[in-house]
């Protein structure tokens, strides 16, 4: 079957799932049936993505349309295929997660499931869009449906605020995306993406660059580039766990897909400064994302900022790729695109996994606050193992998948000197250094993100009484297996991606990447290479050595079991352990200028410390972007609205006057 046919089948399955969900009432079996259909759709999308990866660009299919909306144009490109594979995996995982995470089936759940499945259809439509109108309609539908997903529990003002941030920024981005597409469509005279790509050289240079910048900012709102990211930490905590997983796992990737569409398919040729600006924006996003993640106690806000960091890494890779192309290095261009797409796949897997596990944790303990958790790995062993796999992946530690893709990105960035321009080479090195800082901070942040909730002793009774009976486990487990497969099976993944890159860019990377023995040698034979498969086998083999040493050298006398060393305290209470904020204190002190914390301390009395009674300490990082960027903009808009309010006085006579003036003006314009 062709890829498009598989995508169509997936959409049909999801449509059926949505209908079943709406009609299911309180029948639990019907809800399970809906989830099963959702999983089926995910599998079909996955298969379609693989098919599109291997078979290359299909022709544009126009199954109809109308004169009003324009024709519906669908095409399965290899660039979109990677994202479709991810969509399939995420859909299957969330479909497995959903039934057990919703204890009672209510009207609200049914509406949510329906909206979720429709959002899946909209996402696949964005990826399969072959024309401008199709793309824009699908994009807007996806945004509105995600807004409904976030609004799952509308009673609290936090939920409404988070959802509103999402919608407002999505719409702002949409305006810019429309502008970008309109420029391209007008200058090339066609609404089909293939034709636009073929005729891109007809677009004058400044219009072309303007269109690219509009697309970068417009899609950047969705992808979460700094300073356009503020909806992520607002919306993720308040959405249900699978909603957050869907948002972070897939929806922000659609923003990345949009940027990749403009950067690599529609407008590949361009000046070097485009790539450098993109790369700089990506590096900044990565660093700021992880720094803000360090200051978060709420697990979901923490993961949201980590998403921002990873998107920054991907966009840095894309930007460097564009820079290399501007200097004629086509192999490096294709290579960094491949590395970026690999990271898209990896991040989709482990971020979805971590969000689903955050949902399991919230369900088991009733709280998202890291400082109220602890010891969950003992209370919920399976969740602990799965979350550990996800943490290893996102911290980019060998031998898991995050390491593979970040290694490839670094290898590509280190080739910056091949641009033969000193300034550009230095800028690329600075970007690589920023990514290095980000990588180190990411390990720190995720030691904290895994260690505080899962290790140690439970800090509260809720954490102590957590249990994983009845909790969803197959969805996250599938994603954990996917992480391992993506790592150990990297040669196979690279074959697939290289085939897609060959169709998308015309550069054949496979002979460079996988000569002979399935060893990965990135981009140039002068640089070091490794094979993740060999690395995994080697690490496992090496672990045998300490075991042998222990068996040979252990003391013959028996060993005694003594209590854990706790500093000699007489009554060690779990609250004396590291808290999330004290663990990240060194970073917060070092980067104090970024956080600008506002600290307030209130004592019950003026007596010296120890006798003063209760002390209330509150510290909050200044929301820099909300306060200094968005609030002035909003204030400006409100001022403008106030300014024009007299026009809408409600007086019918005034409105009749407007009508008369408009008719007069139209008459004069036509006449002149």
């Amino acid at each position: 079957m062709t890829a498009l046919a598989l995508f169509g089948a997936a959409a049909a399955a999801w449509a059926a799932a949505a209908i079943v969900a709406w009609l299911s009432g309180t029948v639990r079996a019907a809800m399970r049936c809906s989830c099963a259909l959702s999983i089926l759709g995910g599998g079909l999308a996955f298969a379609g993505g693989i098919a599109a990866l291997l078979r290359g660009d299909s022709r544009v299919v126009s199954p109809g349309g109308s004169a009003v909306v324009g024709t519906l144009q669908l095409q399965a490109t290899s660039l979109a295929a990677v994202f479709a594979v991810l969509l399939g995996i995420v859909a299957v995982a969330i479909g497995l997660y959903l039934p057990r995470s919703r204890k009672e089936t209510s009207a609200q759940t049914n509406l949510y499931l329906g909206a979720y499945n429709l959002a899946l259809i909209a996402s696949i439509a964005v990826l399969a869009a072959g024309g401008v109108t199709t793309f824009l309609v699908a994009w807007e539908s996806m945004a509105l449906l995600c807004y409904l997903l976030i609004l799952h529990r509308p009673r609290s003002s936090e939920v409404a605020s988070g959802a509103f941030w999402f919608l407002a920024l999505s719409e702002t981005g949409f305006v810019l995306i429309v502008a970008a597409f309109v420029i391209l469509a007008a200058k090339t005279g066609s609404l089909s993406l293939d034709v636009i790509a073929a005729r891109a050289h007809l677009v004058p240079a400044d219009w072309r660059d303007t269109a690219y910048l509009l697309a970068l900012v417009g899609f950047g709102f969705k992808a979460g580039l700094v300073p356009l990211h503020v909806w992520l930490p607002a919306a993720h905590p308040v959405a249900p766990a699978d909603g957050s997983a869907f948002l972070s796992g897939l929806i922000v990737k659609l923003g990345v897909y949009g940027i990749a569409l403009f950067a690599f398919r529609l407008l590949p040729e361009g000046p070097a400064w485009r790539g450098i600006v993109t790369m700089g924006l990506g590096a900044l996003t990565a660093a700021i994302g992880i720094l803000y993640a360090m200051a978060e106690r709420d697990i979901k806000r923490f993961l949201a900022f980590s998403t921002i960091e990873n998107i920054g890494i991907i966009i840095t890779a894309f930007g460097a790729a564009m820079t290399f192309l501007a200097y004629g290095q086509r192999a490096l261009w294709a290579f960094l695109l491949l590395a970026g797409l690999y990271h898209v796949l990896n991040h989709g897997c482990y971020k979805t996994l971590l969000f689903l596990e955050a949902g399991v944790t919230e369900h088991a303990t009733g709280t998202r606050d890291m400082d109220r958790l602890g010891g969950l790995a003992r209370a919920m062993p399976r969740a602990g193992v799965i979350a550990f796999v996800g943490t290893l992946g996102i911290a980019a530690l060998p031998p898991l998948n995050g390491f593979v893709s970040e290694w490839l990105i670094f290898q590509g960035l280190f080739q910056g000197f091949r641009t033969h321009s000193d300034l550009v080479a230095i800028l690329i090195v600075v970007a690589a250094a920023t990514l290095g800082l980000t990588g180190g901070l990411a390990i720190y942040a995720f030691v904290r993100g895994f260690g505080i909730p899962y290790l140690g002793m439970p800090r509260t009774r809720q954490a102590a009484s957590a249990t994983e009976a009845d909790q969803p486990v197959y969805g996250p487990a599938l994603l954990a297996i996917a992480c391992v497969v993506l790592a150990v099976g990297a040669p196979v993944v690279l074959v697939g991606l290289a085939t897609a890159i060959r169709t998308a860019t015309g550069v054949a990377l496979r002979p460079i990447l996988l000569p002979g023995k399935l060893t990965v040698i990135p981009a140039h034979t002068n640089f070091s290479g490794f094979s993740p498969t060999y690395l995994t086998v080697f690490l496992l083999a090496v672990l045998v050595v300490p075991v042998l040493i222990y068996l040979a050298g252990r003391p013959r006398a028996g060993s005694t079991v003594v209590p854990v060393w706790d500093g000699g305290m007489l009554a060690f209470r779990p609250r004396m352990q590291y808290s999330a904020m004290t663990f990240s204190a060194p970073t917060r002190v070092t980067f104090d200028a970024l956080y600008r914390p506002s600290v307030s301390v209130e004592r019950a009395s003026d007596d010296p410390a120890g006798r003063s009674g209760p002390v209330h300490y509150e510290s909050q990082a200044t929301p820099v972007f909300e306060r200094y960027l968005y609030r002035p903009v909003v204030a400006g808009v409100e001022w403008l609205a106030d300014f024009v309010r007299p026009l809408q006085s409600g007086d019918v006579n005034l409105y009749l006057l407007y009508v008369f003036v408009a008719v007069l003006a139209a008459y004069l314009i036509v006449a002149l």
């Binding site: 003594v562 209590p563 060393w565 000699g568 305290m569 007489l570």
Partner: protein, 170 residues
């Protein structure tokens, strides 16, 4: 043939001394020291700190300070063993893996200065089994070095043969 109780006691003491020597000789050139202040005035701590300074340079002898009792071979105790601290001192000692050595230093830990009362035990060996005693108030870093080297059997003790009496017969 029967051995008298006195002979037995001597034999036991000799075996004990040999055991102590064998334990101590394991640490001849690599010793990790954990200091424990059971309520001292910190003069001993200041002298102990100086051991790591360039004048005395503990590290050239292979001795190191470690904060973790799990990594420590030798527990260097100062202070008159306040009752409030006794449980923590015992916990620190228990957390050290065998074989281990306990050295009490300073007049307080040796039983001087403070009488046993409601607040302190008066000497370190009320709570911990002390192997080596280093007198002084505070003991100079040289005295501490000598004591540590005695503890790892690199130097011989001098005090049993000193008489502190001048002239006449001791």
């Amino acid at each position: 043939m029967t051995t008298s109780p006195a002979d037995l006691t001597d034999a036991i003491a000799e075996t004990g001394e040999e055991l102590r020597r064998r334990v101590a000789s394991q640490f001849r050139r690599s010793l990790h020291i954990r200091t424990l202040d059971t309520g001292s005035c910190a003069a001993c701590e200041q002298e102990i700190r100086l051991l790591a300074a360039p004048h005395y340079d503990l590290h050239r002898l292979g001795f190191f300070f470690t904060p973790a009792p799990r990594h420590a071979d030798l527990l260097l105790v100062t202070g008159p063993m306040l009752r409030a601290f006794a449980a923590a001192a015992r916990k620190t000692y228990d957390a050290m893996p065998a074989p281990k050595i306990v050295v009490a230093t300073g007049a307080c830990a040796l039983g001087g200065v403070y009488q046993p009362d409601a607040f302190c035990f008066g000497s370190a060996d009320e709570v911990l089994p002390v192997d080596v005693w280093i007198p002084g108030c505070p003991p100079s870093p040289l005295a501490l070095l000598h004591g540590l080297l005695v503890a790892v059997d690199r130097l011989a003790e001098k005090v049993p043969s000193l008489s502190f009496t001048v002239g006449g017969t001791a």
